[in-house]
Amino acid sequence: MVTQGAAELADEARFLHHAFFQQDLPGEVVQQYVAANQGCLPPPAPRAATALRRIVAARLDAEAIELVLRLHRRDPVLTKKIHVLFYLVEVRAQYYHCFVNEQAASWQAVFRIAAGCWRTVYKYVKGAILIRRYELF
């Protein structure tokens, strides 16, 4: 098992957040993410830790890689880290409308879900290529 330092985890939080929300992560959430990883999640195995560092350093597509790992039931460490981040941002007012729809938006919903399905196919192919090319996990 590899213990990740606070600076490394903070960098990881900012990178993952940008991958999904394309904006800066509030400092408070960075601290919460670091604390959650250090106090709650088990430290990653050496191979997973190396892969995580490579993903962050090369700014690889975390969503694509996570999808492939999850569908193939491989090391869930990246899924858990993204999941922690989503929990932390969901309880903030700033992100409310990312999670809750209060408008009548049937067509938008259909479009977004359909687009999500196509995006899944694209991300799956991309993730599989990235994992092979960078020898991740």
């Binding site: 106090g39 709650c40 007012a93 809750v100 977004r112 879900i113 687009a115 899944t120």
Partner: protein, 528 residues
């Protein structure tokens, strides 16, 4: 040392209502008695709070990251993992350990027990449900009636009345979500189709006030059930306990973990561990009523016998979760003034099977969306879009199957104090498939492939460890709850249920505890 007429162990539904029925007697109630945290306080509507408060980290995730529990540990109910609700199961793994590879035990040491986080479903057992019991419905009915008036039960006299019993004194039912109302309307339009297939749909019976009472406001449709403890509209046995303590009707001793008892010719002596200084204390009474929950009452009985070999039976309702979708509601605005309590009940009473199955429909507005992310085999962004736009179009049908004692399902007390449970998972899926097919006619779609079948133990309806029999044997009780071989020890909680119908058992636990305690009170008066 004080001497009591009756000592009651546990302040859950059984303990509180046996103490309630022992009115006029000197009653000691021993309990661990965890209470909800005083802060932070959540008042208002879940969605208004989420929009107006910059950060709800303390209330929803928690300083100890309680809200992340299911990411790092075995899955527990979403209600039990929220930080303000975590007190419900606090210390249970340390003070009342259960080990099992096949059974997820959830034990509460809180004041009010698991009813702190219950769905508030209160269902009378019918004569059909009581088959295999040495007790008749006529003996329970007066206590059901008294409880209905005391706690406040909302519901309706609809198609389900034959299955849920008398509708007298019910409060009006809760307002339904749009999803549930549309489903009910479609059911009513196609009632013949459903009824031919043994499916009936109606309002749930809930211990939730739809009309305010002194000290208890009516339900406010605030969607906070997953995060806020002690909502006064949702009944909790701790309310009745507080009334009894205030009135001096019961001596309540929290911070005590009852370990064992010893029966003497004239009294019972209970040994309890103080949780403040770990010292052992003894209490004496004329009678003992075990109400610590099906698992812990059995633990106390076995520990008192020094028996680390015997295997006792155990029951829990096998359950499954069916997500249902109404496609016309995809992208509809979420009604933030909704309820995450039970919306509808479904009874499956098929002609080809003699067993009743009951299901409860819940809306999906209560938990955080993050709780359901990563459930679908899609990218995170696609999962997020799905969770955001499909929530108003989604309901979850929780299906409960009846259960009878089966030879492989048993528990024993180990010498180290842990309960060891083995439970064979019964096959499920047949009824689920039929319900899915039928609900297509109501415009709600699902698939057996996305049904979830939680491990045994997640039904949280534990029972049958010291069953009630007409002619009891060792580790069984008679029809009055008296433990075989004992003269002063009664079992009043779910432990004494001989079989488990597919219903929430809490209302019957309360009614049966009152029935047994009323007889104990009469016996005590005869002694005097």
């Amino acid at each position: 040392m004080s001497f009591f007429d009756a000592i009651v162990i546990g302040a859950g539904p059984a303990g509180v209502f046996s103490a309630y029925a022992l009115r006029g007697k000197r009653v000691l109630l021993l309990d661990v008695g965890h209470r909800p945290p005083a802060s932070p306080v959540l008042e208002g509507n879940l969605y208004e709070l989420r929009k107006s408060r910059e950060d709800l980290f303390e209330a929803m995730i928690g300083g100890k990251f309680e809200g992340l529990h299911n990411l790092v540990d075995r899955n527990i109910s979403l209600k039990l993992k929220s930080p303000l609700m975590a007190y419900v199961v606090r210390d249970s793994e340390r003070l009342a350990p259960v080990v099992s590879d096949t059974f997820d035990a959830v034990i509460s040491l809180a004041q009010g027990g698991l009813a702190n986080a219950w769905g508030a479903g209160v269902y009378r057992f019918t004569a059909r449900d009581l088959e295999g019991w040495p007790v008749s419905l006529a003996e329970l009915d007066p206590f059901y009636d008294e409880l209905t008036r005391h706690i406040g039960v909302s519901g309706a006299a609809d198609d389900l009345a034959p299955y849920f019993g008398s509708a007298t004194d019910l409060l009006p039912p809760l307002r339904l979500s749009v999803f549930a109302q549309q489903l009910l309307n479609r059911y009513n339009q196609r009632k013949r189709y459903f009824n031919r297939r043994g499916i009936l749909v109606g309002y749930p019976r809930l211990a939730v006030l739809t009309v305010g009472r002194p000290g208890r406001d009516a339900y406010a449709y605030d969607n906070l059930e997953f995060f806020r403890p002690g909502n006064p509209a949702i009944y909790n046995p701790a309310f009745t306990l507080a009334e009894m303590v205030d009135a001096g009707r019961v001596v309540y001793r929290p911070g005590c973990l009852a370990m064992r008892y010893r029966e003497a010719a004239t009294h019972v002596e209970v040994t309890a561990r103080s949780l403040t200084d770990d010292s052992l204390e003894t209490f004496q009474g004329k009678t003992l009523l075990l109400a610590a929950g099906a698992l812990n009452s059995a633990r106390i009985v076995l520990e008192s016998s020094g028996d680390y070999e015997s295997r006792l039976p155990i029951l829990d309702n096998p359950m499954s979760c069916i997500p249902l979708f109404r496609l016309s509601r995809v992208g509809a605005p979420l009604d933030v003034h909704d309820s995450s309590l039970a919306q509808l009940n479904v009874v499956y009473d098929a002609p080809e099977t003699s067993e009743l199955v009951q299901a409860t429909l819940y809306a999906s507005t209560g938990p955080l969306r993050s709780d359901v992310l990563f459930q679908l085999p899609m990218s995170v962004s696609a999962n997020l879009a799905f969770a955001k736009y499909v929530a108003p179009a989604m309901g979850v049908l929780m299906v409960f199957h009846p259960e009878r004692p089966r030879p492989g399902n048993c528990m024993r007390l180990r010498a180290d104090g842990a309960l060891e449970v083995h439970y064979d998972t019964p096959p499920r899926g047949r009824v689920e498939g039929r319900l899915i097919r039928a609900f297509r006619r109501a415009g709600a779609f699902s698939s057996r492939r996305i049904c979830q079948y939680p491990r045994m133990g997640n039904g949280l309806h534990y029972a049958g460890t010291i069953p009630m029999k007409q002619v009891p044997g060792r580790y069984e009780v008679d029809r009055n709850g008296l433990l075989w071989g004992a003269k002063r020890v009664y079992v009043v909680d779910g432990a004494c249920f001989p079989v488990l119908p597919a219903k929430n058992l809490t209302f019957t636990i309360m009614a049966n505890a009152m029935r047994v305690a009323t007889r104990v009170r009469s016996a005590l008066e005869c002694d005097c």
